[in-house]
């Protein structure tokens, strides 16, 4: 093994470890939805290469309004799927799409893009 081989090997392994840590082991924080004037738990979510915030906390039994603003044209995020609530919606680029739901059960429910690559969670407490 010459020097460049040792460097490439160490660099490669280091990069692989970084990839695993960065994508799988990073800690994410939840954001709670706030009550709006009509008594709904409301939260604005920006869709740009993912959902910000991607973990949303809401209370059980109270209506929730999710306002998805798609801040990109990437086709990956054009569809939103929220199977717990049987929703499949198109998110037009640079527009806000309002989704109203009523969480009747406690638990963690995932919402994803059409191809299940981008992910977010709704924590119902």
């Amino acid at each position: 093994m010459d020097t460049s081989q040792i460097l490439v090997t160490l660099g490669g392994i280091g990069l692989a470890v970084f990839v695993v840590w960065y994508f799988f082991l990073g800690k994410r924080t939840a954001q709670a939805a706030a009550l709006n004037d009509s008594g709904m738990q409301e939260i604005a979510i920006t869709v740009k290469g993912g959902y910000s915030p991607d973990i949303i906390e809401v209370e059980q039994g109270k209506p929730v309004r999710l306002k998805f603003y798609r801040d990109e044209t990437s086709s990956c995020s054009e569809e939103l799927i929220f199977s717990e609530f049987k929703l499949r919606r198109d998110l037009p680029a640079f527009e806000t799409t309002i989704i109203d739901i009523l969480p009747t059960n406690k638990g963690t429910f995932e919402f994803t893009c059409g191809m299940n690559m981008l992910r977010g969670k709704l924590l119902v407490r």
Binding site: P63, S74, S83, N116
Partner: protein
């Protein structure tokens, strides 16, 4: 807030308000009451689902601001309505946007292809010694590389820009998707080439050739865009069924207001409005015919190809087409309450739900991209160590790029949902509404179908099956005339059956006068018809009236009873004249449907509240062997549970009203004959027609869809499982095979398209 006031007559105006803060039906009712009771308001209708109130009012008495205030005083909000569009308009807007996106995508693809077509031959000059020599002698290799760089830049910055931007954005979110793979793969090839172009000496001092991969970069992007173009076309077709349904909605209605017909936008039609329909016109909303007769084509909603005859009092449905006559109807449901809107909602919900079979694919795709990135890095490291110094860098790079580019999480992600979308859409087109992807998945495992007898296997209404004359002193025609005249005065279902039979077998211009008509509860009817005492009833009634029954009559009656028919005897002036048998008849299609289910290896069981004798007679007619008779309504659930305890996947078919608990208990609850009343929460599948063959079609559709999903998943898994090791060069030591990144890009682009094309095959299957 107030959105429009387009429709205004000399006296009335109609406006649509958006109401906020309503959470339940009682809120909606309260807002509706508040508006209705406001002075100057003629009518108000509030729709909870759409959060809209439609108000018809007198502008001379009340203005729009007062209406808003009234709502606010009631404790609800009124906000400015940004999108006052109905579903059809929304769908149109989406369509326009998609077309624009598609055009842009095509433009990017064309640019990439055009440039790649120039880049490719230019990059291959070194393969032809004479040309290579010529370039060396004239502009030099480095200048050529700069030309290639200039040609590749637009491909990256214009055609492929979206992938790099998206990869960057997802990276910030600590997620990775398809775009990450494309961006890293093509980015690495491009970066390497740029270094080789600008500083070829760096390579040459290590004894390596300064090779460039501009052709790889440009071709990969062109091929991926080709895949995207094909994918966008195919994807549009997967939702064709729902688009078609939404497109059925009428845009305007001819409403009778203030004595004249006025064409108003559909959103302004209120419950209670009287609407006129001419032949060939689309019916605007759901309602009840007030005047006129016509035949209506309801095939778009029910799948029933024959037009349905409609007269006064008959229900009509929005989106269906009036074929022949002219009529007026009163609107009973508008907007989200109509059958069409409910069908659209049901299909949309099913398409938004997830099939359990998708879980594994979901788990894999959630870790897929980072895993592929790790594999590609390891591929690079392994080849860099394994190959001789002068070739190791390009070798490692090519395999690194090939791994990233061939991996396709899209195919995995598309496999299940696209098939579900096409399958549920196909169902809706055929009058089979599937509530969720899970129901569709369950339906293909059905091992027992439980059929409710009355209304499901049978028509659910009595029909005269026998009218046997036992005395010829009066003509049959006259006997039938007496029977029709007498029974016309009774409201009993058996009497209606007799009237229907008598008027059909011996049509008369008018009925005879009846005096002293009496209906004897549970026994029959008596009256004086055209001066003759006529009696139609059971043996008890005849005995009570001292009418003698001879052996012949007894035998005939017993025979009919043995056939599980309700038996009545008709007497004129004290002597028996005819024996009448009435029975609930089996639907023409039931026998064929039962046989089709049995042929598919499904056990068919009949469930009924009737006695065993009646049940057996019907079962024998349709070919059912296992019967549960004398079952009280609340015991139906227990029968389903019993079959489930035998380890069977049970489908329960019922009318959805009495059978709701049993439908809910069954693995697959199928509500039959919903017509257009489809609000059946208990059923997982709702059949619009009263045709048991649709149960078979539903099961077939489920099996076809599941088979399609399995093919898609198999293809997507196998593609990645074989493609990635091949691209990593796993076979190189044994066979010398390596995968060019360009071939990898072609394979990747085609993999998603193959999955979509396979799902679209479902559209053409006959069910």
């Amino acid at each position: 807030m107030i959105t429009n006031q387009k429709h205004a007559t000399a006296t009335h105006a109609t406006a649509t308000l958006e109401i906020t803060g309503m959470h339940c039906a009682s809120c909606a009712a309260f807002v509706e009451d508040t508006l209705s009771q406001t002075h100057g308001v003629k009518r108000a209708a509030v729709n909870l689902a759409s959060e809209k109130a439609t108000v018809e009012f007198l502008p001379s008495v009340v203005n729009l601001a007062s209406l808003t205030t009234a709502v606010e005083n009631a404790g609800y909000g009124a906000r400015e309505l940004k999108h006052d569009q109905n579903r059809a308009q929304q769908a149109e807007a989406t369509e326009t946007r998609k077309i624009a996106e598609y055009t842009e995508l095509k433009r990017r693809f064309i640019v990439a292809v055009a440039l790649a077509a120039v880049i490719m031959p230019l990059s291959m000059t070194m393969l032809v010694p004479n040309v290579e020599h010529f370039i060396h002698e004239t502009i030099g290799m480095q200048a050529l590389n700069f030309i290639l760089l200039a040609l590749t830049l637009p491909v990256l910055l214009y055609s492929g820009r979206e992938y790099y931007v998206s990869a960057y954005n997802t990276f910030l979110h600590r997620t990775a998707n398809m775009d990450t793979l494309i961006a890293v793969g093509t980015g690495a090839a491009f970066a390497y080439s740029v270094v080789a172009t600008i500083a070829p000496a760096l390579f040459e001092q290590h004894g390596m050739k300064a090779e460039v991969y501009y052709d790889t970069t440009a071709t990969i992007i062109a091929l991926i865009l080709l895949g995207k173009v094909l994918e966008a076309r195919a994807k549009g077709q997967t939702s064709a069924a729902i688009k078609k349904l939404i497109g059925l909605q009428a845009k305007t209605a001819r409403v009778l207001r203030d004595g004249s017909e006025q064409e108003v936008p559909i959103e302004q039609v209120l419950v209670g409005d009287v609407i006129a329909v001419r032949p060939g016109e689309k019916i605007a909303t759901d309602g009840e015919i007030l005047e006129g007769v016509s035949s209506v084509d309801e095939s778009m909603l029910t799948g029933e190809s024959l037009p349905v005859e409609k007269g006064v009092g008959a229900a009509v449905f929005g989106g269906t087409v009036n074929k022949s006559g002219r009529f007026t109807f009163r609107a009973t449901k508008v907007g989200a309450g109509t059958a069409l809107a409910q069908i659209v909602r049901l299909v949309e919900e099913a398409q938004g739900s997830k099939a359990p079979i998708q879980r594994l694919a979901d788990k894999i795709s959630s870790v897929f991209v980072p895993t592929v990135v790790v594999i590609s890095i390891l591929t690079f490291v392994v080849w860099f160590n394994a190959m001789p110094a002068e070739t190791r860098l390009p070798f490692a790079l090519v395999n690194f790029v090939a791994v990233l580019i061939i991996a396709c999480p899209c195919a995995l992600g598309l496999a299940t949902p696209t098939a579900i979308m096409v399958g549920t859409g196909k169902g809706a087109e055929n009058g089979i509404l599937i509530r969720s992807a899970e129901s569709l998945e369950k339906a293909h495992q059905i091992s027992v179908v439980v059929l409710d007898k009355t209304g499901t296997l049978t028509k659910g209404e009595p029909v005269v099956t026998d009218f046997i004359m036992i005395d010829d002193t009066i003509k049959r025609k006259d006997v039938l005339h007496y029977a029709a005249s007498l029974e016309h005065h009774s409201e009993h279902p058996l009497a209606s059956a007799i009237v229907q039979y008598a008027t059909q077998s011996a049509p008369q211009t008018s009925l005879l006068p009846v005096e002293n008509f009496t209906a004897v509860e549970g026994k029959g009817t008596i009256g004086i018809v055209a001066g003759k005492e006529v009696l139609i009833g059971n043996l008890k009634l005849l005995e009570e009236h001292g009418i003698h029954i001879n052996d012949d009559i007894s035998k005939t009656a017993s025979r009919l009873l043995a056939e599980s028919k309700t038996t009545m005897i008709m007497a004129v002036n004290g002597s028996p004249i005819a024996v009448i048998g009435v029975a609930d008849t089996v639907r023409e299609t039931s026998r064929e449907a039962v046989r089709a289910m049995q042929e598919r290896g499904i056990e068919v069981v009949m469930l009924t509240g009737d006695n065993r004798q009646t049940a057996e007679a019907i079962a024998a007619q349709v070919g059912i062997k296992r019967i549960f008779a004398d079952v009280l309504p609340h015991e139906k659930t227990n029968v389903v549970k019993k079959l489930q305890s035998e380890g069977k996947t049970v489908a329960m078919v019922g009318d959805g009203i009495n059978d709701a608990p049993a439908l809910a208990q069954a693995d697959v609850g199928i509500a039959i004959g919903a017509g257009t009343d489809i609000a059946m929460e208990a059923a997982s599948i709702t059949l619009m027609r009263s045709d048991l063959r649709d149960v078979v079609r539903g099961i077939d559709l489920s099996q076809r869809t599941m088979a399609n999903i399995k093919q898609n998943l198999f293809f997507a898994f196998v593609y990645n499982v074989l493609g990635i090791p091949l691209a990593a060069g796993l076979l190189f030591p044994f066979t010398g095979w390596l995968l060019s990144p360009m071939i990898a890009a072609a394979a990747m682009a085609m993999s998603s398209v193959s999955v979509l094309t396979n799902a679209l095959r479902l559209k053409t299957v006959r069910i």
